[in-house]
């Protein structure tokens, strides 16, 4: 199986796109990031990450309709692809497996 490389920040952004379920675009992703993780990142970081995710095939995008609050400019809406959701699941599964392999003592320690 081909390993899918997904950086930590990429993973978080991908998760945000998944959470936003079709409503994800630059602004909402940035806001959700801030809201749920407390991380304040520059817009450029988000923008670049979205492009990179798209290049890797984890998300697709299309230009949505323009709204007045944006001065009539269209927004690019992102959606997780099948490959993206598969990658997320794999990561999740891998983490679970790895968790299962940690001796109980350590888990407790780290859990506390």
């Amino acid at each position: 199986m081909r390993r899918t490389y997904l950086g930590e920040f990429e993973e978080v952004v991908l998760l945000m796109v998944a959470i936003l379920d079709g409503e994800g675009y630059g602004v909402t992703v940035s806001q959700a990031l801030e809201e749920h993780t407390g991380r304040i990142v520059t817009f450029g970081t988000v923008h670049n990450t979205l492009i990179r995710l798209e290049e890797k095939g984890f998300v697709t995008s299309e230009l949505g309709g323009g709204t007045t609050e944006r001065g009539g400019r269209r927004k690019r809406l992102f959606r997780v692809t099948a490959l993206g959701s598969k990658a997320l699941q794999e990561i999740q599964q891998l983490r679970q497996e790895l968790w299962g392999m940690i001796p109980p003592k350590i888990v407790q320690l780290s859990g506390q």
Binding site: Q31, T42, G66, R74
Partner: protein
């Protein structure tokens, strides 16, 4: 929420719009606006502006990641190689080709002729190079050739004496097989009561089939020629003699003693690309007398072949053979010329043996036979084919570039509509490849039509089927596509580089350099054309010169009746009977007929007073009627006569022989040693007369020494006739011949025809050159015609203005033709020295030759100019006659 205040700082926004990649500008701008408002609501204007600025910077290069345009784009351009695009290219190409009918047909015809020539010559060259390669062991077979220089004349040849093969096999273990063949010429072969004149009868050793690969249809190759007096037939000969019967075991008889030969095998017909040919192969064993003479020079009629091991360097063996040859041949030279090999060499002569690879024999042997090839002609033809193709390509490039004016609008419009350079280039390349393929089809058609003629010209049996070989066909298509690409490349890059703005303003092609590429190409075309004209004229002159040369005897109206020895004792009776006829002036019986290689007797004669000095002399055996029949002139002394019984030991020399013997003063009555008989006694002949020099070979050779002896040497009757009713005369001769009921059919030739046949290879060259130079002229003219059309079209307005201002038709024509004439003159200047050099090389082969006069070059130049003017004048006159109102109104 949406108040006018809540807009980001202008300069930061400006920064964003100017520096952010434009593909993602719209979305990023919108996102940042939204975020600005979000920040504004939460933290106020200053905070929002600060963060806005920070975030703008984060999306500027180099921080921003660019969206790859190919990945996902809203205005996706179609791939250049998308099927729809290709269909579009083809459609436009087709329409363009159809619209410009003249230049399209010029292109197609030019390229088709170029390709057809290329294919024909490729077939020819391929055939020439394939000679003898059908032998499975071709690269291991070598022929031992005689190197012999006598009296400064090269008299060596492809054969060695009878014993050479045996000695080579015995002395050198690396000689796996050695085999000999000997040409027997024609024989009358009978089977029961029927008899045929059998040409191409070869005698060979039984090892023949171990060396050469001729597949057997019947019989065993191992034993086929093992027993004496056996014979192997080719398929064709077997059918001729036996029809559908099985030939094996049947007995044929031939030779002077009508010896019986048993048929032991039938083989496939010998391939045409073989340096020897036989219809019948008989055993050498038992056919030649066994001579226990060690030398290799005695009876040098045997072509000797050796088979060497694989990867063996034949030069090594050659060195070893030379040592043996020194011994074997040296002893003979000692015996015949009374010279030691050292003395012989000191005279400036030489002898020896050299090995020649089988595959070189056809192209690298300098033999008189018109069958044999010449590597020079292979090179020349290949060069001509390459030039023709090149010229056709040049035409194409020239024409496509010339018609660029018409296409330039199209290019401009397409560029404005968003075509990229690459697309346009592809368009043009596809157009020219398409054209090349059409030309290939036309060219193949031409090849099919021309092949019978070409075969006749070259004496080959080439077939179209050679082209169906998959690799040849693939090569042909690939070559054609390549030619198309090559031809299309210049227009493609030239046309596609037009600047749309200039084009649409109509200023794209207005540049007229004093000497641009197109002029260079015209010069090149005419350089080739003029060179070929010069070559053709020279070859033609040489041929005519040779044919019109005084040959020193009268060959007109001389009939040669062949095979008269078949009449046996009745030969003289027959001769005497036919000279009774009022239509006959005189008749002579002789084996030797001048011109052509009927007899190769070259023997050394020595003067009695200086027996060490031998002169290589051709021997003719004649009767007293020979010299008057052929109208030869006696310079001194007298002809043989029946009233002088001593003439049996008399000799008539030609002037060259007299000189070679050093008898310029009073040759009559001197004595020479004709030959030495088996007991070592010298046979002495007395000179009775000197005949003026006449050409007994072709004009390629200098006249050599010749000695005529009185002798009963039958074979032909030469008849000098004086009739204009030849058919009736021939019929009556045939009737008389048949009344003697000889075994041979009546056959004859005219001395004139034999004379012409000597020049077959020159004639072929002359015909090939004529053909190719006319084709080249034609193609070059096509190109010129196209260019003239273009020039006239381009200068329509100029001509209009000139006419309004009072220019005459003549001056306009001159104006348009002047440019071309200049180019042709340049071509003439370049072509003259090169053609002069080339033709001088060719003329070196002839002992008697024409000179390269200045007028040939003038003629070639005038011819080229004349043809070019004719070609250009049509368009020029047309342009000059147009009413200027018409040409000027359009703007």
């Amino acid at each position: 929420m949406n108040s006018p205040d809540k807009t980001p700082p202008r300069w930061a926004h400006w920064l964003l719009t100017t520096l952010h990649p434009h593909e993602t500008l719209e979305e990023v701008e919108g996102d940042l606006d939204e975020l600005y408002m979000y920040w504004y609501d939460r933290a106020g204007r200053t905070q929002a502006s600060l963060r806005y600025l920070l975030n703008v910077v984060s999306v500027l290069p180099p921080f921003v990641r660019r969206r790859k345009p190919s990945k996902q784009q809203d205005y996706r351009t179609t791939s250049n190689l998308h099927p729809d695009m290709i269909r579009n290219y083809l459609k436009i190409a087709f329409r363009n080709l159809k619209r410009q009918k003249v230049s399209t047909s010029i292109n197609v015809i030019g390229l088709a002729i170029g390709l057809a020539t290329g294919i024909l010559i490729m077939l020819y060259v391929q055939d020439e190079l394939s000679y003898d390669r059908y032998n499975e062991k071709a690269d291991r077979i070598f022929r031992a050739n005689l190197k012999l220089q006598l009296n400064g004349k090269d008299v060596g040849g492809p054969s060695l004496g009878q014993n050479a093969a045996r000695d080579l096999k015995q002395e050198f273990p690396e000689v796996l097989k050695a085999t000999r063949i000997r040409g027997q010429g024609g024989e009358f072969v009978s089977y029961g009561t029927t008899s045929f004149r059998q040409d191409n009868l070869l005698l060979a050793d039984s090892s023949f089939f171990d060396v050469f690969t001729i597949p057997f249809l019947k019989g065993n190759p191992k034993r086929a020629l093992a027993e004496p007096n056996t014979v192997v037939l080719t398929e064709e000969t077997a059918r001729k003699y036996f029809g559908n019967q099985d030939p094996i075991g049947k007995v044929l008889s031939f030779g002077n003693d009508k010896r019986p030969y048993r048929v032991t095998g039938v083989v496939r017909n010998v391939p045409t690309n073989s340096h020897f040919r036989f219809d019948m192969l008989a055993t050498l064993v038992g056919h030649d007398q066994v001579i226990d003479w060690p030398g290799w020079l005695y009876s040098i009629d045997y072509q000797t072949y050796v088979l060497l091991p694989e990867h063996y360097d034949y030069k090594q063996l050659e060195a070893k053979i030379s040592k043996l040859a020194e011994k074997q041949m040296g002893s003979e030279i000692q015996k015949w010329l009374k010279l030691t090999p050292k003395q012989f060499r000191e005279r400036g002569d030489d002898f020896g043996v050299f090995l020649q690879p089988l595959t070189d024999i056809h192209l690298y042997s300098r033999s008189e036979s018109s069958q044999s090839g010449n590597i020079m002609y292979v090179y020349v033809l290949t060069a001509i084919a390459a030039f023709m193709l090149l010229i056709a390509c040049v035409n194409f490039m020239n024409l496509s570039t010339a018609t660029a004016v018409r296409r330039s609008r199209e290019v401009g419009v397409r560029k404005v509509l968003g075509s990229v350079k690459g697309q346009l280039q592809q368009q043009f390349l596809i157009e020219s490849v398409l054209l090349a393929i059409v030309a290939l089809l036309v060219g193949l058609l031409l090849v099919g039509l021309a092949l019978p003629f070409f075969n006749q010209l070259t004496g080959k049996a080439l077939a179209m089927s050679l082209l169906t070989n998959s690799s040849v066909a693939a090569g042909l298509v690939a070559g054609t596509v390549l030619v198309g690409l090559l031809a299309g490349s210049y227009p493609a890059f030239y046309l596609s580089s037009f600047k749309p703005v200039l084009v649409l303003k109509g200023r794209a092609t207005a540049r007229r350099g004093s000497f641009n590429l197109r002029s260079g190409l015209v010069v090149f075309q005419f350089f080739v054309t003029i060179s070929l004209i010069i070559a053709t004229v020279t070859a033609d002159r040489q041929l005519r010169y040779m044919q019109s040369q005084k040959v020193g005897f009268d060959h007109e109206q001389v009939l040669v009746i062949h095979d008269t020895h078949m009449l046996r004792n009745n030969e003289t009776v027959f001769r005497d009977r036919i000279i009774q006829s009022p239509q006959v002036v005189m008749g002579s019986i002789s084996g030797q007929v001048p011109v052509g290689r009927t007899n190769m007797d070259n023997t050394t004669v020595r003067t009695k007073e200086n027996p060490d000095q031998g002169v290589m002399t051709r021997f003719y055996f004649v009767d007293p009627e020979y010299i008057p029949t052929l109208g030869m002139r006696m310079v001194q002394g007298r002809n043989f006569s029946k009233s002088f019984p001593t003439d049996a030991s008399g000799v008539i020399l030609n002037e060259t022989a007299v000189q070679a013997l050093g008898w310029q003063k009073n040759p009559i009555g001197r004595e020479l040693i004709g030959h030495t008989d088996d007991n070592g006694v010298n046979i002495i002949y007395r000179v009775v007369g000197v005949v003026s020099d006449f050409h007994f070979e072709s004009l390629r050779q200098k006249i050599g020494p010749l000695a005529m002896f009185l002798g009963r040497n039958s074979g032909n009757i030469l008849v000098k006739t004086r009739t204009d009713k030849l058919p009736e005369f021939l019929a009556s001769l045939k009737q008389q011949w048949e009344s003697f009921a000889p075994a041979a059919p009546f056959s004859y030739s005219f001395l004139d025809d034999r004379f012409a046949k000597v020049y077959v290879s020159e004639q072929k060259i002359e015909q090939v050159l004529t053909l190719f130079s006319s084709l080249t002229i034609f193609i070059a003219c096509l190109g010129l015609f196209g260019l003239a059309t273009y020039t006239a079209e381009q200068r329509t307005k100029e001509i209009g203005v000139r006419k309004v201002l009072g220019a005459s038709v003549g001056s306009v024509v001159a104006l348009l033709s002047k440019d071309f004439l200049k180019l042709i003159l340049i071509a003439l200047v370049i072509a003259s020295p090169i053609a002069w050099w080339g033709m001088n090389q060719w003329l070196k082969e002839f002992a008697y030759k024409v000179t390269m006069d200045w007028w040939i070059f003038a003629l070639a130049g005038l011819l080229a100019i004349g043809i070019a003017l004719l070609t250009v004048s049509y368009q020029s006159i047309k342009a000059a006659l147009v009413n200027p109102v018409k040409s000027l109104r359009s703007e």
